[in-house]
């Protein structure tokens, strides 16, 4: 009797466990393709970081190749390139973050003011249109404007003003402005949609009350709209600061058409890695630069998040 009493208890525990395992197995099977993909696409390359510390020899493979310590990094930081690509990546990103935020919020507020539904939808669609296109297409549009021989700016505008044509793809001094303009042209629609959807979500009661109190439109924007957009602005900021060490490869590679004479102002870390890897097959330098980007980028994300946790905890990403 007493045995019987113990055994069912044990069995119940066991069957319960077994039953559960059977219940969960299908879920693990469903998760499996995703897990395999992450292992191949994301986690295996993380071990590939060792390439940066190796003198890579394809015949020997990654693990057979000889270690070279920090030599690749020494070469990279001894060259002038390291400073140029870091400076370009950071400065462009800072300019992009500030200008995109300002323009996107400005446009979102104006679209929200427009009473005609048809017009407002039309403006949104058109301003968003460039975001839909690939960077290759964007480079064709830029070429139609900037080509030294056949571009619209040299032939249609400068010539009519009696000015000398400019060899755009060989003159670095204009490119900080061109790249910033192109970035805004392509990206402002996306940010505008996000801010616009936040503005639409603001309760009309605030504005009605403000109007009754005689507040002007400008005062309403300054005292109601912008303060209520703060959480969205902060989230967008953190996301962008976290990616400040990454540049938009398409913008910096396609728009200047990888023109060598512009490298001083157009080469960012991503462009450098691509050229070192694919054009010069220099695994040492390219892997050093790409690991430098991953690690500093990781620190930036953690830093941005830690900062925001201090300032306003509810806006932190994790």
């Amino acid at each position: 009797m007493s045995d019987k009493k113990v055994v069912p208890g044990k069995n119940a525990g066991k069957t319960k466990k077994k039953f559960r395992w059977k219940e969960y197995l299908p879920y693990y099977l469903l998760a499996l393709p995703g897990v395999i993909y992450m292992l191949c696409n994301n986690y295996l390359p993380m071990f590939g970081i060792v390439i940066a510390f190796k003198n890579l020899n394809f015949r020997k493979g990654i693990f057979g190749s000889d270690w070279c310590g920090f030599d690749n990094f020494k070469f990279l930081f001894a060259s002038k390139d390291a400073l140029t690509i870091t400076r370009n990546t950071l400065l462009y990103n800072i300019a992009f973050i500030i200008l995109t935020t300002v323009f996107a919020i400005g446009i979102a507020i104006l679209i929200n003011e427009i009473r005609s539904k048809v017009a407002s939808r039309l403006y949104q669609s058109l301003i968003l249109l460039p975001y839909l296109m690939s960077w290759v297409i964007a480079s064709y549009l830029a070429y139609a404007l900037l080509s030294a021989e056949t571009g619209l700016i040299n032939n249609g505008i400068l010539a009519n003003l009696g000015m000398d044509p400019v060899s755009w793809y060989n003159t670095p001094k204009y490119w900080p402005f061109i790249l910033t303009f192109v970035h805004l042209w392509k990206g402002v629609g996306y940010a505008m949609i996000i801010y616009y959807s936040s503005i639409v979500g603001i309760s009309q009661d605030y504005y009605e009350a403000a109007t009754l109190d005689g507040a002007s439109k400008w005062q309403q924007i300054k005292r109601i709209t912008i303060p209520l957009l703060k959480p969205t602005i902060i989230t967008m900021f953190v996301l962008q600061i976290g990616r400040i060490f990454y540049s938009d490869f398409g913008l910096f590679y396609q728009i200047p058409m990888n023109s060598g004479s512009l490298y001083s102002v157009t080469r960012t870390i991503d462009v450098y890695v691509y050229n070192a890897l694919m054009k010069s097959s220099d695994f040492g330098m390219s892997s050093a630069a790409s690991v430098y980007q991953s690690i500093v980028g990781f620190v930036m994300i953690l830093g941005a998040n830690a900062f925001i946790r201090r300032v306003s905890k509810e806006n932190a990403l994790f």
């Binding site: 879920y27 469903l30 998760a31 393709p33 995703g34 993909y37 992450m38 696409n41 295996l44 390359p45 993380m46 590939g48 990654i62 446009i107 104006l110 679209i111 009473r115 017009a119 039309l122 403006y123 669609s125 058109l126 301003i127 968003l128 249109l129 460039p130 839909l132 296109m133 690939s134 960077w135 290759v136 480079s139 064709y140 549009l141 139609a144 021989e149 056949t150 040299n154 249609g156 949609i193 996000i194 005689g214 002007s216 969205t232 396609q254 058409m257 991503d270 890897l277 694919m278 695994f283 390219s286 892997s287 790409s290 690991v291 991953s294 980028g297 990781f298 994300i301 990403l317 994790f318």
Partner: protein, 301 residues
């Protein structure tokens, strides 16, 4: 008096808003107009006067040339469609199955799985390591998988979106009822969860599809002109024309075709027009979902 001031103020705002938005819209649109007009310009005229909104002489020669070279462009078109469709479907399958598993908060380890996914947003091995893994371990170079698999198949962002949709919009009681009726996990997923999730799947499917349609970087890294040109998509062909304006002539089946016939100045614009045409035509119809996809992506959870 006060009333009048208010009306004036609001009229001024309307006019100012419309004016700014018209300028902004034109800035966004005019380069595309220039592209289309340039593609219909006579090649000689374009060489002498440059691209212009009002060319002195119009011509269809660029499109005639493309029609005669339809072998390369047509195949690239087919590849773009195949890659976009296969990639989007695979991506939806992998994302939704994974998201369904992690959305079950009774599942032991669901937090670890979610962390594995989120962590890929924070840290990565870098381009060089990815390139090495894909080309030397998986030997993906010059295969069609090179265009489909790297980077695009499962985005952690989409996993979060779909998982949140599963937990917030599908009531657990429906799933419980199905289970009591004896439905297995797989049939619950395919017969109940997926049909109820069409809105979110359509939205992320659209964003993924646009990503595949516009992608040129995978081809840049993993397809070479010697061994992989049969897999070139329209974006990769456009990129190759950027690098080498004679790309189409060099890859012509009519190899004898002389290069001087190539209306290169306007032809490149015509290829670009053909590349954006389907997206432009479909844009009004999917714009609503596109905007929704952006707002979903912009709001973190």
């Amino acid at each position: 008096m006060n009333e009048k001031r208010k009306i004036n103020e609001s009229t001024v705002w309307q006019i100012a808003a419309h004016a700014v938005m018209i300028i902004g819209s034109l800035l966004a649109l005019l380069p595309f107009v220039l592209l289309v007009i340039a593609s219909f310009t006579d090649n000689q005229t374009a060489l002498i006067n440059g691209y212009s909104f009002a060319p002195a002489k119009w011509s269809l020669e660029a499109y005639k040339y493309i029609a005669s070279e339809w072998g390369t462009i047509g195949r690239a078109y087919m590849m773009t469609i195949v890659v976009t469709v296969v990639g989007t479907v695979l991506s939806l399958v992998i994302t939704s199955t994974f998201a369904f598993a992690v959305s079950n908060d009774k599942l032991p380890g669901h937090k670890i799985l979610m962390f594995l996914s989120i962590f890929t947003m924070l840290f990565n091995g870098g381009i060089v390591a990815s390139y090495y893994v894909y080309s030397n371990i998986f030997h993906i170079k010059n295969t069609i998988w090179a265009l489909i698999v790297p980077s695009f198949l499962m985005s952690p962002f989409n996993v979060v979106l779909v998982k949140n949709y599963f937990t917030n919009s599908i009531s657990p009681s429906i799933l419980e009822a199905a289970k009591i009726d004896g439905a297995g996990v797989f049939s619950v997923f395919t017969k109940i969860v997926l049909p109820l999730s069409v809105p979110i799947l359509a939205t992320i499917g659209l964003m993924t599809g646009i990503g595949y349609w516009n992608d040129w970087t995978n081809g840049l890294y993993f397809l070479t002109e010697n061994g992989g040109s049969q897999y070139f998509t329209i974006q990769i062909v456009l990129n190759k024309i950027n690098e080498n304006i004679n790309f189409l002539a060099n890859n012509s089946e009519l190899a004898a075709k002389a290069t001087q016939q190539l209306p290169s100045t306007t032809m490149r614009m015509a290829v670009a027009v053909i590349g954006i045409l389907p997206v432009m035509c479909a844009y009004p119809f999917f714009q609503k979902y596109f905007v929704k996809g952006i707002t979903l992506g912009g709001v973190k959870e």
